[in-house]
């Protein structure tokens, strides 16, 4: 075999390895406004699904940079009017936080490779307002799983105009075993929350003001996108558009 043939084969192998690395996992995101009515209060449901080739587990997620329309009324909503300390949330979960700091909830599914098989675990997610930082709203994302791996991770993030960045910590399934791989997450901002206000010295429950949609829909709809980063060094950038309600722009 000539040198040129060896070089050609080597280059072809490199190309195949690069291609399979970038195609290791694919990500799709979902966004739902309930109700989808311009100018009206709504709950915002966000989700993503990470898929790996059959029989494989996706590379562990290390970060998400989520982009949303900056004129969604998240900051002007009545959500997150108290804050929860990160240490409190880590130690005791969202139930230990002030009710007025709860901003939403959801669930997550992770896959754990165990002895050649893939086990799936469902965990709960809580969205909680944390102490603000440099004038930014701090959103704490707490994920708690119980079985087979009991763990709670708190991911602090800053809510900037149209941008939310999360650093996802690596969680070991067992000492020395592979890290957990997140495969599906669904969270809802707002929704069925109960806050308390003080009236004549008594605490009275109320429903906080939800996120309000803009009165006009951007041309082409509300655009969402995200950059997902994985431990294997790959990234995925899925996009999603929520179409404008019929007859409205």
């Amino acid at each position: 075999m000539s040198r040129a043939q060896i070089l050609t084969i080597a280059l072809a192998l490199c190309a195949c390895i690069t291609g399979s690395a970038s195609a290791a996992q694919s990500v799709s995101i979902s966004t739902v406004f309930t109700p989808l009515r311009l100018g009206a209060p709504t709950t915002v449901s966000l989700g993503f699904q990470i898929s790996a080739p059959a029989g494989q587990v996706p590379s562990p997620l290390t970060g998400v940079d989520f982009h949303y329309p900056s004129n969604l009324g998240i900051a002007t909503s009545g959500l997150g009017v108290a804050s929860c300390a990160v240490a409190e949330l880590e130690a005791h979960g969202a139930s230990a936080c002030p009710p007025n700091s709860q901003m939403g909830s959801g669930n997550a599914f992770v896959e754990i490779p165990v002895g050649g098989e893939i086990d799936t675990e469902k965990g709960n997610i809580a969205l909680v307002a944390g102490p603000s930082q440099n004038g930014y709203i701090r959103l704490l994302v707490a994920a708690t799983g119980f079985s087979p791996v009991a763990a709670r991770v708190v991911m602090p993030s800053l809510l900037e105009a149209g941008d939310l960045k999360l650093t996802v910590p690596l969680v070991e399934s067992l000492p020395g075993a592979p890290y957990l791989s997140v495969v599906r997450v669904q969270v809802t901002l707002g929704g069925n929350l109960t806050y308390y206000e003080r009236r004549h010295g008594k605490l009275v429950p109320y429903r906080p003001k939800s996120v309000v949609l803009p009165k006009t829909c951007p041309r082409g709809g509300f655009r969402f996108s995200a950059t997902f980063s994985f431990l294997d060094g790959t990234q995925a950038e899925p996009r999603r558009t929520v179409a404008c309600p019929r007859g409205r722009r």
Partner: protein
């Protein structure tokens, strides 16, 4: 010596008239318009308002209420807060003698609370009636209150100067 005598005998009123005429000619030659008949007035403004929530449009809150102080009237504010620490607003005060519109930028602190406060600056962008051609600027202070289901309002205080 002859000039000094002429100067001493020069009538004072004649002199003033001559000087003014010369100045008017000079100003006209330079293309500077003559001063307006009415002198501009400057007001030290200190106004406060408690604005009730009217509606919202995404990240913009529209609040309205009575402004009390130097320039009383109905105050309508369009307050934009999208999560960045800098908030902005447009406002209009409709009074008996005219209206004043302006814009403001402020820095909001303690956003994860039921009463985030903000502090910044405002400037006048337009006016009508008595305050037509008004200009001015000053400081703005406020609190974005969201203490309960029906406790959702803005309190604002503006301190500054306007000239009209």
């Amino acid at each position: 010596m002859r000039f000094a005598r002429w100067a001493r005998g020069f009538d004072r009123s004649t002199g003033r008239t001559a000087v003014l005429a010369a100045l008017a000619i000079a100003v006209a030659a330079m293309g500077i318009p003559p001063a307006r008949a009415a002198a501009a007035r400057t007001l030290n403004v200190r106004d406060e308002g408690k604005l009730r929530f009217i509606t919202s449009d995404g990240s913009e809150l529209i609040d309205e209420g009575d402004a009390a102080g130097t320039l009383p009237g109905n105050l309508r504010a369009y307050f934009v807060y999208n999560g960045e620490p800098t908030v902005s607003a447009r406002f209009t005060i409709e009074g008996h003698s005219g209206s004043i519109s302006g814009k403001a930028k402020a820095r909001l602190s303690n956003p994860n609370s039921s009463e985030p406060s903000f502090r910044g600056a405002f400037s006048i962008t337009g006016a009508s009636g008595r305050y037509a051609h008004a200009r001015g600027s000053g400081e703005l202070f406020g609190v974005f209150i969201r203490r309960g289901e029906h406790k959702y309002w803005l309190t604002v205080q503006a301190i500054g100067k306007i000239t009209y």
